[in-house]
């Protein structure tokens, strides 16, 4: 399989994730769409690492996974805090920074 196929899959997934961030209003689903985009970037990093026979890209993908886990932890913490404050779980209605 040529590496280009993997890059096409990665590009499709990234575009789907970006569209999802724009379309959906539930912050939980928006976080999931961000995960989609990070995974697409991971796939292209690993594909380029394979193309060049260099493992640095795989290390990069691992670090991206760590950062994604951090982002998920903080984002879900924010959503739980919103829920506790009885605010609507909807990004269109959350316009003010002051809780």
């Amino acid at each position: 399989m040529s590496i280009t196929w993997y890059l096409v899959v990665s590009t499709i997934v990234f575009a789907i994730g970006a569209g999802g961030v724009l379309v959906r209003r539930n912050p939980l689903v928006i976080l999931l769409c961000i995960e989609l985009m990070l995974n697409a970037a991971n796939l292209s990093l690993v594909a380029f690492a394979r193309a060049h026979g260099n493992q640095d890209g795989q290390i990069f993908a691992l670090i991206v996974m760590v950062v994604a886990a951090c982002e998920v932890a903080v984002g879900l913490g924010l959503i739980v805090a919103l829920f506790r404050q009885r605010l609507p779980i909807d990004v269109d209605e959350l316009r003010e920074l002051q809780g």
Partner: protein, 206 residues
């Protein structure tokens, strides 16, 4: 054989992504993302990234998705976010934007004149992507990034606990802060709300 596995995995990956975006119930979105991650792990295996594939299944599909499940189950009662439909114009604009992004990324990545992209990759050696090699690289060339990642994880864990902690909890005098009294929120909670919060916080401290 590799072609067959690739196309099956690619279909699973793209279908999982579409399901994540399009399903109405966030619970099903999370399940679709789990399918997507498993397909992606198969693609990583095809690209000779064994350790990444294992970490993907264990860390993402295992730990992070369970965290999502718990939060969706906790917040899930909110029907308003599910019921409100998105306007058709926004949907069309988003699809247009996603299509434009797809074309642009294709031009940028595949249209580039990197000769190796049409091959199966060069410089492959036997231990490529195994845990031994990844571990050796992490503890030699990328030691700083490794340590920074661990510090980042610690900060994120502490930050998540601080963000999600109980703010103004029960009616106990000792638990009320001055800010709560000034805001006047302590007297407006119904017994049902207090019960929910006590349940979320666990058994009362002695």
């Amino acid at each position: 054989m590799a072609e067959v596995i690739f196309f099956i995995a690619a279909i699973v990956v793209i279908a999982g992504a579409v399901g994540t975006v399009s399903l109405r119930n966030p619970f099903y979105s999370v399940l679709a993302l789990v399918c997507h991650l498993l397909g992606l792990a198969a693609l990583f295996l095809l690209l000779r990234a064994e350790f990444i594939a294992a970490a993907q299944v264990v860390v993402y599909a295992g730990a992070v998705m369970v965290l999502y499940m718990f939060v969706v189950a906790y917040v899930g009662g909110d029907r308003r976010a599910l019921a409100a439909p998105v306007s058709g114009r926004l949907k069309a604009l988003s699809a247009l934007f996603a299509g434009a992004l797809f074309v642009e990324l294709c031009i940028a990545m595949i249209g580039s004149t990197v000769g190796v992209l049409d091959s199966e990759g060069t410089g492959f050696f036997r231990a490529f992507g195994t845990p031994q090699e990844i571990g050796r690289l992490l503890l030699t060339d990328f030691l700083l990034a490794f340590e920074l990642a661990s510090i980042l994880l610690l900060i994120a864990a502490v930050g998540a606990v601080v963000l999600a902690r109980r703010r103004s909890g029960t009616e106990m005098a000792g638990d009320l802060s001055v800010a709560d009294v000034l805001r006047g929120t302590h007297g407006t909670r119904t017994p049902a709300e207090l019960e929910t919060q006590a349940e979320a916080a666990g058994p009362a401290r002695r």
